[in-house]
Symmetry: C2
Subunit: 140 residues, 2 copies
């Protein structure tokens, strides 16, 4: 199968598939004309990669997961550990974003958003001193 077909099947852009070959995640054969020739197993691997990436696993995680998948003697504990660490990363990220969101939405709400220059958002970023109860002081 040529790269275009595999791209369609796996949902990954051809560029990405070439990149995955570059970094050693797949090793398609080559036809006599130099075109990559993908086996079913390659397609399967790429689809696996696509799903793992969609879950936010890093490329290195993916590499480990593929290795574990290929190893029928694996312990599921190893897989689970990778997934749990990733889950923790996700939770941290969500927490970080949620905090940003809270501060930012306070500021946005406080901003008139009209033609006048007065702006609590800028005031907060500049840490301008305001009367007690300023959003900037309270939020961080």
């Amino acid at each position: 199968m040529n790269i275009g077909d595999v791209a369609d099947l796996s949902g990954l852009p051809a560029k990405t598939i070439r990149y995955y070959e570059d970094i050693g995640l797949v090793e398609p054969l080559r036809s006599s004309n130099g075109y990559r020739s993908f086996r079913q197993s390659d397609v399967h691997k790429l689809a696996f990669l696509g799903r793992a990436r969609a879950l936010g696993f890093t490329i290195e995680d993916c590499r480990s997961l593929l290795k574990l998948y290929a190893d029928t003697d694996r312990a599921s504990a190893e897989v689970k550990q990778i997934a749990e660490e990733h889950l923790d990363r996700i939770d941290s990220k969500i927490a970080e974003l949620t905090e940003m969101r809270a501060t930012l939405s306070h500021l946005v709400d406080a901003c008139a958003g009209d033609h006048r220059p007065d702006c609590p958002i800028l005031a907060d970023l500049a840490m301008e001193q305001k009367a007690a109860g300023s959003i900037g002081k309270a939020s961080r």
Copy 2:
């Protein structure tokens, strides 16, 4: 003030401050010995940048925000728009991560995490067909 002092004051690494100069966010003076010489206004600007970055604004957002901050004729609407767009980006990101988190935590819960090779996480990534009610099928 030298870069080290500014780093301490602003909380930004010296490397980052140099980088911000590189991309034109600050323009410190230079002493005769070639050292950067920061004014109070530079320090203020860098602290502004630090807070904006902490809220997740991109560097280009920061550039715009600094420009608006300097412009006393600005309309707060412009600032608000930048902040609202950023808020939307944050919301999308949170939504994406929350979805990942849901799928992933289902899979993690379903995985025994022991010495045996059977692993629902890998099975899902590989889209192995399971009996009806499989997590993989249900989750995506």
